[in-house]
Symmetry: C2
Subunit: 422 residues, 2 copies
């Protein structure tokens, strides 16, 4: 709310006039939820002060999410009994956590260290491109914070499109966004155990594997589907086509920068992007969506079913039934939210389903890729998208934590009876 | 395949020319899978012989599905151990089943009895409307078989639209379709125990309750969303509006007749219809979709999770974990199939997402409501829809049965470890 008020101030806008309430609210929510959708151009509408407010919103929002989610994971792990606690401590053992203060300190120091490293890589490039030193530092800082927190805001009016062949900029963005999307528990495991895969927690193994798999599959499919589309990458040389495909796939994990116009993509590519965005990134990360581990657990349950196993097993571990039910709840909640919001926005905007669905999922998964619909919506539609960003951001985290905390013991069981399925 | 060949014959078409292979194949698949989607008008394109072939296809297809699905449910129940077997026998106790012959006989006699009753109700109405006796009998037989088997084929070129205010016709159609959509196991329970709800099997309780719930919710929402749409029911009086709403809701369960043009509905209403069609009817019925019990089991799992229960409980029974995993598999398979087919058809047709998604889900759930896209598609698109109808029809039944049969005992368990979800 503070950010909304500050963005409403005349000083925040470039032309010195106060910004309309729904635009200020939308931008503030978008920044704090690290979404990156905008109703007004970040570069053209906001003054330096306004952009600073946005960047602070991203920084605070990103830290808040990381801390909140990590805290909740800790709380959940405290309820797991002795063995569960040991495993959870293993996941977090890098810092011998247990207190909020310690956790917060580790989150901040890790985030700032990664962001500083990214900024150091990018700043020289902006200097080379002819910017002044303060400008270069400002842009490098903005992009590194925006990338690591998966925010997708950009201080240039054309976004990252001018750098579409500039790997010096694109690679740090992709690496920062990807690392950020893995989530804090995974980063801790990586820092503590390095690349010794066998020592990782189950959560880290699943998150990294599924993220890489989605990244590769997304890039290959995106490239194949857009290969000959002259409105996007059809007329580029092979190297640029591959860069674009990989970049597009990373962005759905939920960074949200774009190199091509989303409206120019084939409808089928938009659907692919919808699906990738809906899945999103890792748990307790700045990425949104239903999370890659949720998808992994569902997939493993199906594999177990197909093999006729009673337990859902992977890497010598059994995934408990309760976890599976949390996964079902998160997916169903996500699908229901997206369906309701899409229905509302269809009625409000009168736009085609593919654009509305794209924007809704982009907001739900806090991705920020846009067909430009956000900027065209009347205030009522803007509020719907605000609500989607908010619920998409904190909804699944709190839902999952609340559910996991409510597990209770039973003293008796009813007899089993199975309804016929399918 | 026999039906495809027979429909390809010159004698089957009204103008005496052989029908193109993909049209004949599509119509045959649509009839045998009791879908009701068409690429050519049933009334205008086909001769009486052709229509008879279609009706025979519906009759044989409907019986085949009922028998196959009931058989598989029986096979599954045989694997359940003594208690499970007792419960399954209770579900089927009307006929002391156990042999294919007996089962088939019961299925046929029940189907024919219900179809005859429906035809007896409708035939006089067609006579009153000025048809000759043979015509009236033919139409009554066609509609009753088409309705009970949830096929949605119609022998009139305008479908049931001329009868849009004729409750004498609409009510038998709705009742027949709804009874057919409950599925054979539920019908048996109803015949055996009447309306004594407490004596029903869990499967019957869930199926009837969820079906009625979806029916009511669908009618209310459909009515509310289209109430003021002049292209559909906006200009009608209140009674007709209500009739239309209830009819539209029943049709998604998956009969597939239509009173209003699907293209005239709001996009949000199309999405509502998509969702209702995707769920479909009861297990081991002629209705398609992922089935109401699948939805019920998922919902109960979420409720159990929200309440912190370890067991998924309802009506004093526990739903086993295996059943939940079958439900997950069926839903994921359905969603994946719909997504792939929608992507393919978007690329093939270049049409808007809402129409393509609608037609794909209509084919998958063998509903047969149509925006007319089927008739516009090139042969490659027609084959995609054929495949969807086929997999939608037999896929979920066989998948669920195969999965349920593959349950196996385990001698050891791995330690539990829970990845972070959401
Ligand atoms: K984002
Ligand atoms: K049908």
């Amino acid at each position: 709310m503070v950010f909304t008020v500050m963005l409403s101030l005349p000083a925040a806008s470039r032309d010195g006039h106060a910004t309309a309430f729904h635009d200020a609210l939308f931008t503030a929510v978008s920044a704090v939820c690290v979404t990156g959708l905008t109703t007004v151009s970040t570069a053209l509408h906001w003054s330096f002060f306004g952009q600073l407010v946005i960047l602070t919103g991203i920084f605070v929002g990103g830290l808040g999410i990381l801390t909140l989610a990590s805290l909740m994971s800790l709380m959940v792990s405290k309820r797991l009994g002795v063995r569960g606690k040991l495993i959870a401590q293993e996941a977090m053992n890098a810092g011998r956590l247990g207190e909020v203060g310690t956790l917060l300190r580790i989150v901040i120091s890790t985030s700032v260290a990664i962001e500083a490293a990214l900024a150091l890589v990018m700043a020289p490039r902006f200097l080379v491109l002819g910017e002044t030193l303060p400008q270069a530092i400002w842009h490098a800082a903005f992009y590194s914070i925006s990338a690591f927190n998966n925010a997708g805001f950009t201080p240039h009016s054309d976004g990252v499109v001018p750098y579409e062949a500039d790997l010096w900029i694109l690679v740090p963005l992709m690496v920062g966004g990807f690392i950020g999307s893995l989530g804090f528990p995974v980063l801790m495991v990586l820092l503590a155990t390095g690349f010794r895969f066998r020592k990782w927690t189950l959560h880290a193994k699943l998150t990294v594997q599924v993220s890489l798999l989605l990244l590769a599959a997304g890039a290959v499919l995106w490239g194949a589907m857009e290969w000959t589309n002259p409105a996007t990458i059809g007329n580029m040389d092979v190297g640029d086509k591959i860069t674009h495909s990989i970049f597009a796939s990373v962005m759905t994990r939920s960074l949200g920068f774009n190199l091509v116009d989303m409206n120019s993509m084939h409808s089928s590519t938009m659907m692919l992007t919808d699906a990738l965005m809906f899945v999103g990134g890792g748990s307790a990360s700045t990425a949104g969506g239903i999370k890659v581990t949720t998808l992994a657990v569902m997939f493993l349950a199906i594999v177990a079913e197909a093999r006729g196993d009673n337990d859902v097993k992977i890497y010598g571990r059994t995934i408990p039934q309760g976890t599976m039910r949390v996964a079902i709840s998160v997916i169903m909640m996500g699908a229901t939210l997206v369906m309701i919001a899409t229905g509302l926005l269809l009625a409000i905007s009168g736009q085609s389903l593919d654009r509305v669905l794209f924007e809704t999922i982009s907001a739900f998964a806090t991705v920020g890729l846009s067909t430009g619909l956000s900027a065209e919506l009347p205030p009522s539609g803007v509020y719907v998208l605000c609500a989607m960003m908010f619920f998409g951001r904190v909804g699944s985290i709190t839902l999952a934590a609340a559910l996991a905390l409510r597990q209770r013991r039973q003293l008796y069981h009813y007899p089993e009876e199975r309804p016929i399925i399918g």
